[in-house]
Assembly symmetry: C2
Homo-oligomer: 247 residues x 2
DNA sequence: CGTATCGATATGTCTATACATAAAATCGTA
DNA sequence: TACGATTTTATGTATAGACATATCGATACG
Protein backbone atom coordinates (compact mmCIF):
# COMPACT_ATOMS: atom_id res chain seq x y z
CA UNK A 1 0.00 0.00 0.00
CA UNK A 2 1.23 3.42 -0.70
CA UNK A 3 -0.23 6.81 -0.18
CA UNK A 4 0.52 9.65 -2.51
CA UNK A 5 -0.85 13.04 -3.14
CA UNK A 6 -3.73 14.03 -5.13
CA UNK A 7 -4.87 17.61 -4.82
CA UNK A 8 -3.44 18.52 -8.13
CA UNK A 9 -0.18 16.81 -7.33
CA UNK A 10 3.20 18.24 -6.55
CA UNK A 11 4.20 19.17 -10.04
CA UNK A 12 7.32 17.57 -11.39
CA UNK A 13 8.96 20.81 -12.44
CA UNK A 14 6.81 21.15 -15.50
CA UNK A 15 7.98 23.89 -17.76
CA UNK A 16 6.38 26.81 -16.05
CA UNK A 17 3.67 28.18 -18.22
CA UNK A 18 2.26 31.33 -16.81
CA UNK A 19 -0.84 29.91 -15.16
CA UNK A 20 1.23 27.17 -13.62
CA UNK A 21 3.67 29.72 -12.30
CA UNK A 22 0.84 31.59 -10.66
CA UNK A 23 -0.50 28.37 -9.25
CA UNK A 24 2.75 27.28 -7.66
CA UNK A 25 3.47 30.78 -6.38
CA UNK A 26 0.22 30.76 -4.49
CA UNK A 27 0.67 27.17 -3.44
CA UNK A 28 4.05 28.00 -2.00
CA UNK A 29 2.70 30.86 0.07
CA UNK A 30 -0.02 28.65 1.45
CA UNK A 31 2.23 25.71 2.19
CA UNK A 32 4.86 27.80 3.94
CA UNK A 33 2.21 29.43 6.06
CA UNK A 34 2.87 32.89 4.61
CA UNK A 35 -0.80 32.94 3.71
CA UNK A 36 -2.49 31.17 6.61
CA UNK A 37 -5.94 29.56 6.50
CA UNK A 38 -8.62 32.16 6.04
CA UNK A 39 -6.26 34.58 4.28
CA UNK A 40 -7.83 36.30 1.32
CA UNK A 41 -5.91 35.72 -1.86
CA UNK A 42 -5.46 38.82 -4.01
CA UNK A 43 -8.42 39.49 -6.27
CA UNK A 44 -8.20 38.16 -9.77
CA UNK A 45 -7.70 41.60 -11.26
CA UNK A 46 -4.86 42.28 -8.82
CA UNK A 47 -3.18 39.08 -9.92
CA UNK A 48 -3.85 40.07 -13.54
CA UNK A 49 -1.88 43.23 -13.18
CA UNK A 50 0.78 41.62 -10.98
CA UNK A 51 1.46 38.98 -13.60
CA UNK A 52 0.47 41.07 -16.58
CA UNK A 53 -1.96 38.56 -17.98
CA UNK A 54 -5.65 38.14 -18.64
CA UNK A 55 -8.22 37.17 -16.08
CA UNK A 56 -8.78 33.77 -17.71
CA UNK A 57 -5.19 32.84 -17.01
CA UNK A 58 -5.43 33.81 -13.37
CA UNK A 59 -8.75 32.06 -13.13
CA UNK A 60 -7.31 28.84 -14.48
CA UNK A 61 -4.69 28.82 -11.76
CA UNK A 62 -7.27 29.51 -9.07
CA UNK A 63 -9.62 26.87 -10.47
CA UNK A 64 -6.96 24.22 -10.13
CA UNK A 65 -6.17 25.27 -6.59
CA UNK A 66 -9.86 25.11 -5.81
CA UNK A 67 -10.19 21.67 -7.37
CA UNK A 68 -7.24 20.62 -5.26
CA UNK A 69 -9.07 21.95 -2.20
CA UNK A 70 -6.30 24.34 -1.26
CA UNK A 71 -8.49 27.40 -1.62
CA UNK A 72 -12.14 28.24 -1.56
CA UNK A 73 -13.62 30.70 -4.04
CA UNK A 74 -16.64 32.74 -3.15
CA UNK A 75 -18.44 35.06 -5.51
CA UNK A 76 -18.08 38.67 -4.67
CA UNK A 77 -16.02 37.87 -1.58
CA UNK A 78 -12.86 36.55 -3.21
CA UNK A 79 -10.72 33.45 -2.81
CA UNK A 80 -9.54 32.22 0.56
CA UNK A 81 -7.02 29.75 1.87
CA UNK A 82 -8.94 26.78 3.16
CA UNK A 83 -9.04 26.08 6.82
CA UNK A 84 -7.74 22.57 7.24
CA UNK A 85 -9.93 20.37 9.35
CA UNK A 86 -8.44 17.15 8.19
CA UNK A 87 -5.15 15.75 7.21
CA UNK A 88 -5.86 14.68 3.69
CA UNK A 89 -3.87 12.05 1.89
CA UNK A 90 -4.37 9.92 -1.13
CA UNK A 91 -4.16 6.27 -0.42
CA UNK A 92 -2.90 4.29 -3.38
CA UNK A 93 -3.58 0.66 -2.88
CA UNK A 94 -1.94 -1.57 -5.41
CA UNK A 95 -3.29 -5.04 -5.72
CA UNK A 96 -1.18 -7.38 -3.66
CA UNK A 97 0.54 -8.98 -6.63
CA UNK A 98 1.68 -5.61 -7.94
CA UNK A 99 2.65 -4.50 -4.45
CA UNK A 100 4.91 -7.49 -3.91
CA UNK A 101 6.38 -7.29 -7.39
CA UNK A 102 7.13 -3.61 -6.86
CA UNK A 103 9.17 -4.59 -3.82
CA UNK A 104 11.28 -6.79 -6.04
CA UNK A 105 10.13 -9.95 -4.34
CA UNK A 106 8.72 -13.02 -5.99
CA UNK A 107 4.99 -13.27 -5.81
CA UNK A 108 3.23 -16.48 -4.90
CA UNK A 109 -0.47 -17.14 -5.10
CA UNK A 110 -2.44 -20.03 -3.79
CA UNK A 111 -6.15 -20.55 -4.18
CA UNK A 112 -7.46 -22.23 -1.06
CA UNK A 113 -11.10 -22.39 -1.88
CA UNK A 114 -13.42 -21.08 -4.55
CA UNK A 115 -17.09 -21.78 -4.82
CA UNK A 116 -20.05 -20.40 -6.66
CA UNK A 117 -23.34 -20.54 -4.82
CA UNK A 118 -26.63 -18.77 -4.24
CA UNK A 119 -26.12 -16.04 -1.68
CA UNK A 120 -27.13 -17.03 1.81
CA UNK A 121 -28.16 -14.65 4.54
CA UNK A 122 -24.58 -14.16 5.76
CA UNK A 123 -23.39 -13.35 2.25
CA UNK A 124 -26.13 -10.79 1.78
CA UNK A 125 -25.32 -9.10 5.06
CA UNK A 126 -21.66 -9.01 4.26
CA UNK A 127 -22.20 -7.54 0.82
CA UNK A 128 -24.88 -5.21 2.06
CA UNK A 129 -27.04 -6.34 -0.83
CA UNK A 130 -30.79 -6.39 -0.48
CA UNK A 131 -31.75 -9.30 -2.62
CA UNK A 132 -28.94 -11.18 -4.17
CA UNK A 133 -28.58 -14.05 -6.56
CA UNK A 134 -25.35 -15.91 -6.94
CA UNK A 135 -22.00 -15.12 -5.40
CA UNK A 136 -18.46 -16.35 -5.72
CA UNK A 137 -16.66 -17.01 -2.45
CA UNK A 138 -12.89 -17.11 -2.58
CA UNK A 139 -10.22 -17.83 -0.03
CA UNK A 140 -6.62 -17.49 -1.05
CA UNK A 141 -3.14 -16.76 0.15
CA UNK A 142 -0.53 -14.36 -1.16
CA UNK A 143 3.12 -14.85 -0.44
CA UNK A 144 6.34 -12.96 -1.04
CA UNK A 145 9.54 -14.96 -1.56
CA UNK A 146 7.60 -18.01 -0.40
CA UNK A 147 6.74 -16.40 2.93
CA UNK A 148 3.03 -15.90 3.63
CA UNK A 149 2.20 -12.26 3.06
CA UNK A 150 -1.55 -12.03 3.48
CA UNK A 151 -4.64 -14.14 3.40
CA UNK A 152 -7.72 -13.02 1.59
CA UNK A 153 -11.35 -13.90 2.05
CA UNK A 154 -13.57 -12.48 -0.66
CA UNK A 155 -17.15 -12.44 -1.83
CA UNK A 156 -18.11 -11.28 -5.34
CA UNK A 157 -21.67 -10.51 -6.34
CA UNK A 158 -22.13 -12.42 -9.58
CA UNK A 159 -25.19 -10.47 -10.61
CA UNK A 160 -23.31 -7.21 -10.37
CA UNK A 161 -20.14 -8.63 -11.90
CA UNK A 162 -21.24 -11.40 -14.29
CA UNK A 163 -17.86 -11.34 -16.07
CA UNK A 164 -16.36 -12.84 -12.93
CA UNK A 165 -17.93 -16.17 -13.84
CA UNK A 166 -15.44 -16.48 -16.67
CA UNK A 167 -12.37 -15.49 -14.69
CA UNK A 168 -9.91 -18.12 -13.62
CA UNK A 169 -9.14 -17.43 -9.99
CA UNK A 170 -6.92 -20.45 -9.77
CA UNK A 171 -4.24 -18.61 -11.67
CA UNK A 172 -5.12 -14.94 -11.24
CA UNK A 173 -5.67 -13.34 -7.85
CA UNK A 174 -9.20 -11.95 -7.63
CA UNK A 175 -7.97 -8.52 -6.54
CA UNK A 176 -5.86 -8.13 -9.66
CA UNK A 177 -8.59 -9.40 -11.89
CA UNK A 178 -11.17 -7.05 -10.42
CA UNK A 179 -8.88 -4.05 -10.48
CA UNK A 180 -8.25 -4.47 -14.18
CA UNK A 181 -11.69 -5.52 -15.29
CA UNK A 182 -14.26 -3.87 -13.09
CA UNK A 183 -14.71 -0.12 -12.71
CA UNK A 184 -16.04 1.06 -9.39
CA UNK A 185 -17.31 4.30 -8.02
CA UNK A 186 -17.07 3.92 -4.28
CA UNK A 187 -15.16 1.90 -1.77
CA UNK A 188 -15.07 1.77 1.96
CA UNK A 189 -12.25 0.50 4.11
CA UNK A 190 -12.10 -0.49 7.71
CA UNK A 191 -8.76 -1.03 9.35
CA UNK A 192 -8.41 -2.91 12.56
CA UNK A 193 -6.13 -5.20 14.51
CA UNK A 194 -6.80 -8.69 15.79
CA UNK A 195 -4.75 -11.50 17.22
CA UNK A 196 -4.32 -14.58 15.09
CA UNK A 197 -6.58 -17.48 15.86
CA UNK A 198 -5.50 -21.03 15.14
CA UNK A 199 -6.60 -20.97 11.53
CA UNK A 200 -5.07 -17.59 10.67
CA UNK A 201 -1.87 -18.51 12.47
CA UNK A 202 -1.57 -21.67 10.41
CA UNK A 203 -2.24 -19.89 7.12
CA UNK A 204 0.16 -17.05 7.82
CA UNK A 205 2.74 -19.23 9.53
CA UNK A 206 2.81 -17.14 12.67
CA UNK A 207 2.12 -17.87 16.31
CA UNK A 208 -1.37 -18.06 17.69
CA UNK A 209 -1.96 -14.78 19.50
CA UNK A 210 0.38 -12.83 17.22
CA UNK A 211 -0.97 -9.45 16.05
CA UNK A 212 -2.55 -9.14 12.61
CA UNK A 213 -3.58 -6.10 10.61
CA UNK A 214 -7.04 -6.44 9.10
CA UNK A 215 -8.38 -4.52 6.14
CA UNK A 216 -12.02 -4.90 5.22
CA UNK A 217 -12.93 -3.40 1.90
CA UNK A 218 -16.35 -3.03 0.32
CA UNK A 219 -16.68 -1.82 -3.23
CA UNK A 220 -19.68 -0.47 -5.09
CA UNK A 221 -20.62 0.77 -8.52
CA UNK A 222 -23.36 3.36 -8.34
CA UNK A 223 -24.52 2.16 -4.94
CA UNK A 224 -24.57 -1.47 -6.07
CA UNK A 225 -22.30 -3.79 -4.08
CA UNK A 226 -19.66 -5.51 -6.17
CA UNK A 227 -17.37 -7.24 -3.74
CA UNK A 228 -16.42 -7.51 -0.09
CA UNK A 229 -12.99 -8.61 0.98
CA UNK A 230 -11.12 -9.16 4.21
CA UNK A 231 -7.34 -9.13 4.12
CA UNK A 232 -5.26 -10.36 6.99
CA UNK A 233 -1.63 -9.31 7.23
CA UNK A 234 0.96 -10.26 9.81
CA UNK A 235 1.45 -7.31 12.10
CA UNK A 236 4.43 -5.74 10.43
CA UNK A 237 4.04 -2.36 8.94
CA UNK A 238 2.43 -1.21 5.73
CA UNK A 239 3.55 2.09 4.49
CA UNK A 240 1.47 4.98 3.29
CA UNK A 241 2.70 8.27 1.91
CA UNK A 242 0.67 11.44 1.87
CA UNK A 243 1.29 14.93 0.67
CA UNK A 244 -0.26 18.31 1.23
CA UNK A 245 -2.73 19.28 3.82
CA UNK A 246 -6.36 19.42 3.19
CA UNK A 247 -9.79 20.63 3.96
CA UNK B 1 -10.41 8.61 10.40
CA UNK B 2 -12.37 8.88 7.25
CA UNK B 3 -11.48 8.45 3.65
CA UNK B 4 -13.19 10.45 0.97
CA UNK B 5 -12.64 11.14 -2.64
CA UNK B 6 -10.55 13.65 -4.28
CA UNK B 7 -10.19 13.34 -8.02
CA UNK B 8 -12.51 16.22 -8.58
CA UNK B 9 -15.05 14.80 -6.18
CA UNK B 10 -18.40 13.28 -6.80
CA UNK B 11 -20.27 16.43 -7.55
CA UNK B 12 -23.19 17.21 -5.31
CA UNK B 13 -25.64 17.79 -8.15
CA UNK B 14 -24.30 21.24 -8.91
CA UNK B 15 -26.48 23.05 -11.33
CA UNK B 16 -25.16 21.61 -14.52
CA UNK B 17 -23.34 24.24 -16.45
CA UNK B 18 -22.30 23.03 -19.83
CA UNK B 19 -18.72 22.13 -19.08
CA UNK B 20 -19.81 20.29 -15.97
CA UNK B 21 -22.37 18.39 -17.96
CA UNK B 22 -19.69 17.31 -20.38
CA UNK B 23 -17.48 16.32 -17.50
CA UNK B 24 -20.04 14.15 -15.77
CA UNK B 25 -21.14 12.62 -19.06
CA UNK B 26 -17.62 11.42 -19.71
CA UNK B 27 -17.12 10.47 -16.10
CA UNK B 28 -20.24 8.32 -16.21
CA UNK B 29 -19.06 6.47 -19.28
CA UNK B 30 -15.73 5.77 -17.67
CA UNK B 31 -17.16 4.70 -14.34
CA UNK B 32 -19.72 2.36 -15.84
CA UNK B 33 -17.04 0.76 -17.97
CA UNK B 34 -18.66 1.88 -21.22
CA UNK B 35 -15.34 3.52 -22.03
CA UNK B 36 -12.76 1.11 -20.63
CA UNK B 37 -9.18 1.98 -19.75
CA UNK B 38 -7.21 2.89 -22.84
CA UNK B 39 -10.30 4.02 -24.73
CA UNK B 40 -9.76 7.18 -26.73
CA UNK B 41 -12.18 9.91 -25.80
CA UNK B 42 -13.68 11.80 -28.75
CA UNK B 43 -11.45 14.58 -29.99
CA UNK B 44 -12.13 18.01 -28.64
CA UNK B 45 -13.59 19.24 -31.89
CA UNK B 46 -15.91 16.23 -32.01
CA UNK B 47 -17.15 17.08 -28.54
CA UNK B 48 -17.46 20.72 -29.64
CA UNK B 49 -19.91 19.82 -32.34
CA UNK B 50 -21.67 17.19 -30.24
CA UNK B 51 -22.37 19.72 -27.51
CA UNK B 52 -22.48 22.74 -29.76
CA UNK B 53 -19.94 24.70 -27.78
CA UNK B 54 -16.48 26.18 -28.10
CA UNK B 55 -13.27 24.26 -27.66
CA UNK B 56 -12.42 26.11 -24.43
CA UNK B 57 -15.53 24.69 -22.82
CA UNK B 58 -14.71 21.14 -23.83
CA UNK B 59 -11.13 21.67 -22.78
CA UNK B 60 -12.15 22.82 -19.34
CA UNK B 61 -14.11 19.62 -18.79
CA UNK B 62 -11.19 17.50 -20.00
CA UNK B 63 -8.71 19.47 -17.90
CA UNK B 64 -10.63 18.70 -14.76
CA UNK B 65 -10.86 15.03 -15.64
CA UNK B 66 -7.11 15.04 -16.23
CA UNK B 67 -6.45 16.79 -12.93
CA UNK B 68 -8.61 14.16 -11.29
CA UNK B 69 -6.50 11.50 -12.98
CA UNK B 70 -9.43 9.90 -14.74
CA UNK B 71 -8.01 10.57 -18.19
CA UNK B 72 -4.67 11.25 -19.76
CA UNK B 73 -4.28 13.86 -22.49
CA UNK B 74 -1.59 13.55 -25.12
CA UNK B 75 -0.85 16.12 -27.76
CA UNK B 76 -1.71 15.05 -31.23
CA UNK B 77 -2.87 11.65 -29.99
CA UNK B 78 -5.98 12.63 -28.04
CA UNK B 79 -7.31 11.94 -24.57
CA UNK B 80 -7.50 8.45 -23.11
CA UNK B 81 -9.14 6.76 -20.17
CA UNK B 82 -6.46 6.02 -17.63
CA UNK B 83 -5.48 2.48 -16.96
CA UNK B 84 -5.98 1.92 -13.26
CA UNK B 85 -3.04 0.38 -11.54
CA UNK B 86 -4.06 1.38 -8.07
CA UNK B 87 -7.11 1.76 -6.02
CA UNK B 88 -6.94 5.41 -5.18
CA UNK B 89 -8.68 6.86 -2.19
CA UNK B 90 -8.38 9.99 -0.18
CA UNK B 91 -7.66 9.42 3.46
CA UNK B 92 -9.11 12.15 5.61
CA UNK B 93 -7.69 12.00 9.06
CA UNK B 94 -9.37 14.30 11.51
CA UNK B 95 -7.48 15.08 14.64
CA UNK B 96 -8.67 12.80 17.38
CA UNK B 97 -10.60 15.46 19.24
CA UNK B 98 -12.61 16.34 16.15
CA UNK B 99 -13.04 12.67 15.31
CA UNK B 100 -14.52 11.86 18.67
CA UNK B 101 -16.69 14.97 18.74
CA UNK B 102 -18.00 14.11 15.29
CA UNK B 103 -19.15 10.79 16.68
CA UNK B 104 -21.21 12.67 19.24
CA UNK B 105 -19.15 11.39 22.14
CA UNK B 106 -17.57 13.44 24.86
CA UNK B 107 -13.87 14.02 24.35
CA UNK B 108 -11.42 13.63 27.15
CA UNK B 109 -7.75 14.59 27.07
CA UNK B 110 -5.06 13.86 29.54
CA UNK B 111 -1.47 15.00 29.29
CA UNK B 112 0.73 12.30 30.69
CA UNK B 113 4.10 13.81 30.13
CA UNK B 114 5.51 16.83 28.33
CA UNK B 115 9.13 17.85 28.29
CA UNK B 116 11.34 20.17 26.35
CA UNK B 117 14.88 19.01 25.85
CA UNK B 118 17.81 19.00 23.45
CA UNK B 119 17.34 16.24 20.91
CA UNK B 120 19.19 13.07 21.74
CA UNK B 121 20.28 10.46 19.22
CA UNK B 122 17.01 8.55 19.49
CA UNK B 123 14.99 11.69 18.87
CA UNK B 124 17.04 12.57 15.83
CA UNK B 125 16.61 9.11 14.36
CA UNK B 126 12.91 9.17 15.01
CA UNK B 127 12.45 12.57 13.41
CA UNK B 128 14.84 11.77 10.62
CA UNK B 129 16.53 15.08 11.25
CA UNK B 130 20.21 15.48 10.56
CA UNK B 131 21.28 17.92 13.20
CA UNK B 132 18.61 18.95 15.57
CA UNK B 133 18.31 21.37 18.41
CA UNK B 134 15.49 21.21 20.87
CA UNK B 135 12.44 19.01 20.77
CA UNK B 136 9.22 18.71 22.69
CA UNK B 137 8.29 15.19 23.74
CA UNK B 138 4.67 14.58 24.59
CA UNK B 139 2.76 11.59 25.86
CA UNK B 140 -0.97 11.86 26.23
CA UNK B 141 -4.20 9.97 26.22
CA UNK B 142 -7.44 10.60 24.38
CA UNK B 143 -10.71 9.20 25.60
CA UNK B 144 -14.30 9.06 24.39
CA UNK B 145 -17.07 9.05 26.97
CA UNK B 146 -14.39 8.44 29.58
CA UNK B 147 -13.20 5.28 27.88
CA UNK B 148 -9.58 5.31 26.66
CA UNK B 149 -9.60 5.83 22.91
CA UNK B 150 -5.96 6.15 21.95
CA UNK B 151 -2.61 6.93 23.41
CA UNK B 152 -0.23 9.25 21.65
CA UNK B 153 3.52 9.57 21.81
CA UNK B 154 4.81 12.58 19.94
CA UNK B 155 7.99 14.45 19.17
CA UNK B 156 7.98 17.99 17.80
CA UNK B 157 11.06 19.63 16.33
CA UNK B 158 11.20 22.99 18.07
CA UNK B 159 13.56 24.49 15.53
CA UNK B 160 11.19 23.74 12.71
CA UNK B 161 8.10 24.67 14.72
CA UNK B 162 9.20 27.37 17.16
CA UNK B 163 5.58 28.44 17.77
CA UNK B 164 5.07 25.15 19.58
CA UNK B 165 7.01 26.52 22.52
CA UNK B 166 4.12 28.83 23.29
CA UNK B 167 1.39 26.22 22.94
CA UNK B 168 -0.24 24.83 26.03
CA UNK B 169 -0.38 21.09 25.55
CA UNK B 170 -1.89 20.61 28.97
CA UNK B 171 -5.21 21.84 27.65
CA UNK B 172 -4.97 21.40 23.89
CA UNK B 173 -4.05 18.11 22.26
CA UNK B 174 -0.89 18.51 20.19
CA UNK B 175 -2.50 17.01 17.09
CA UNK B 176 -5.25 19.63 17.09
CA UNK B 177 -2.83 22.42 17.76
CA UNK B 178 -0.51 21.38 14.96
CA UNK B 179 -3.30 20.81 12.47
CA UNK B 180 -4.57 24.32 12.98
CA UNK B 181 -1.29 26.15 13.28
CA UNK B 182 1.32 24.42 11.19
CA UNK B 183 1.13 23.95 7.43
CA UNK B 184 2.85 20.90 6.05
CA UNK B 185 3.72 19.63 2.64
CA UNK B 186 4.31 15.96 3.11
CA UNK B 187 3.35 13.22 5.49
CA UNK B 188 4.05 9.55 5.69
CA UNK B 189 2.02 6.97 7.52
CA UNK B 190 2.82 3.46 8.59
CA UNK B 191 0.04 1.24 9.79
CA UNK B 192 0.71 -1.89 11.75
CA UNK B 193 -0.64 -4.12 14.47
CA UNK B 194 0.93 -5.06 17.78
CA UNK B 195 -0.20 -6.71 20.95
CA UNK B 196 -0.46 -4.55 24.03
CA UNK B 197 2.43 -4.72 26.45
CA UNK B 198 1.94 -4.03 30.12
CA UNK B 199 2.24 -0.28 29.78
CA UNK B 200 -0.05 0.08 26.79
CA UNK B 201 -2.59 -2.24 28.34
CA UNK B 202 -2.68 -0.13 31.48
CA UNK B 203 -3.03 3.12 29.57
CA UNK B 204 -5.76 1.82 27.28
CA UNK B 205 -7.46 -0.24 29.96
CA UNK B 206 -7.30 -3.43 27.95
CA UNK B 207 -5.76 -6.82 28.57
CA UNK B 208 -2.09 -7.49 28.06
CA UNK B 209 -1.80 -9.32 24.76
CA UNK B 210 -4.89 -7.65 23.28
CA UNK B 211 -4.45 -6.40 19.71
CA UNK B 212 -3.70 -2.74 19.03
CA UNK B 213 -3.70 -0.76 15.84
CA UNK B 214 -0.62 1.42 15.44
CA UNK B 215 -0.29 4.48 13.25
CA UNK B 216 3.09 6.12 12.88
CA UNK B 217 3.00 9.47 11.20
CA UNK B 218 5.87 11.67 10.12
CA UNK B 219 5.23 15.15 8.84
CA UNK B 220 7.49 17.49 6.88
CA UNK B 221 7.43 20.95 5.44
CA UNK B 222 9.62 21.19 2.37
CA UNK B 223 11.65 18.15 3.38
CA UNK B 224 12.17 19.45 6.89
CA UNK B 225 10.83 17.19 9.64
CA UNK B 226 8.22 18.81 11.82
CA UNK B 227 6.86 16.07 14.01
CA UNK B 228 6.73 12.33 14.51
CA UNK B 229 3.86 10.66 16.28
CA UNK B 230 2.82 7.15 17.24
CA UNK B 231 -0.82 6.49 17.96
CA UNK B 232 -2.00 3.33 19.63
CA UNK B 233 -5.63 2.33 19.32
CA UNK B 234 -7.41 -0.63 20.80
CA UNK B 235 -8.01 -3.13 18.01
CA UNK B 236 -11.53 -2.17 17.06
CA UNK B 237 -12.09 -0.82 13.65
CA UNK B 238 -11.40 2.57 12.17
CA UNK B 239 -13.38 3.41 9.16
CA UNK B 240 -12.20 4.87 5.90
CA UNK B 241 -14.25 5.79 2.89
CA UNK B 242 -12.93 6.05 -0.64
CA UNK B 243 -14.47 6.93 -3.93
CA UNK B 244 -13.57 6.46 -7.55
CA UNK B 245 -10.87 4.36 -9.00
CA UNK B 246 -7.56 5.71 -9.92
CA UNK B 247 -4.39 5.65 -11.82
C1' DC C 1 16.67 -0.22 -45.71
C1' DG C 2 17.16 2.99 -42.31
C1' DT C 3 16.88 7.79 -41.29
C1' DA C 4 16.02 12.71 -41.56
C1' DT C 5 12.68 16.13 -42.65
C1' DC C 6 8.40 18.15 -42.91
C1' DG C 7 3.51 18.74 -42.85
C1' DA C 8 -0.78 17.74 -40.58
C1' DT C 9 -3.11 17.55 -36.44
C1' DA C 10 -4.75 17.56 -31.59
C1' DT C 11 -3.85 19.38 -27.46
C1' DG C 12 -1.85 23.44 -24.47
C1' DT C 13 -1.85 28.13 -23.38
C1' DC C 14 -3.43 32.70 -23.67
C1' DT C 15 -6.17 36.95 -24.96
C1' DA C 16 -10.06 40.11 -25.00
C1' DT C 17 -14.64 40.30 -24.39
C1' DA C 18 -19.33 39.39 -22.81
C1' DC C 19 -22.90 38.33 -19.93
C1' DA C 20 -24.61 35.68 -15.74
C1' DT C 21 -24.88 35.23 -10.83
C1' DA C 22 -24.19 35.38 -5.99
C1' DA C 23 -23.46 38.08 -2.29
C1' DA C 24 -21.67 42.08 0.18
C1' DA C 25 -22.60 46.86 0.76
C1' DT C 26 -25.35 50.72 0.44
C1' DC C 27 -29.30 53.36 0.43
C1' DG C 28 -34.14 54.47 1.19
C1' DT C 29 -38.05 54.16 3.45
C1' DA C 30 -41.33 52.59 7.01
C1' DT D 1 -33.64 51.64 14.00
C1' DA D 2 -35.01 47.85 11.19
C1' DC D 3 -35.85 45.94 7.01
C1' DG D 4 -36.24 45.56 2.11
C1' DA D 5 -34.75 47.03 -2.47
C1' DT D 6 -30.92 48.42 -5.27
C1' DT D 7 -26.26 48.82 -6.61
C1' DT D 8 -21.74 47.21 -6.84
C1' DT D 9 -18.40 43.87 -7.31
C1' DA D 10 -15.80 39.56 -7.83
C1' DT D 11 -16.25 35.33 -9.44
C1' DG D 12 -18.41 31.77 -12.97
C1' DT D 13 -19.18 30.46 -17.51
C1' DA D 14 -18.71 30.90 -22.23
C1' DT D 15 -17.05 32.60 -26.97
C1' DA D 16 -13.90 33.16 -31.01
C1' DG D 17 -9.57 33.47 -32.31
C1' DA D 18 -4.48 33.08 -32.09
C1' DC D 19 -0.19 30.95 -31.68
C1' DA D 20 2.78 27.26 -29.42
C1' DT D 21 4.19 22.56 -29.17
C1' DA D 22 4.40 17.73 -29.25
C1' DT D 23 4.03 13.99 -32.16
C1' DC D 24 2.20 10.79 -35.72
C1' DG D 25 2.87 9.58 -40.25
C1' DA D 26 4.35 10.21 -44.75
C1' DT D 27 7.72 11.51 -47.85
C1' DA D 28 12.32 12.15 -49.42
C1' DC D 29 17.05 11.17 -49.02
C1' DG D 30 21.39 8.85 -48.13
Amino acid sequence: MSLATDRGKLQPADKPTLYKQIRIDIERRILTGEWPPGHRIPFEHELMSRYGCSRMTVSKALSELAQADLIERRRKAGSFVRRPTFLSAVLKIADIRAEISALGRSYGYELIQCSRRPANATDRTRLGAGKSGKVIAIACRHSADNVPFAIEDRLIDLDAVPEAAAADFATEPPGSWLLHHVPWTEAEHSISAIVADEQAAAALDIAIGAPCLVIDRHTWRSARPLTAVRLLYPGESHKLVARFRGG
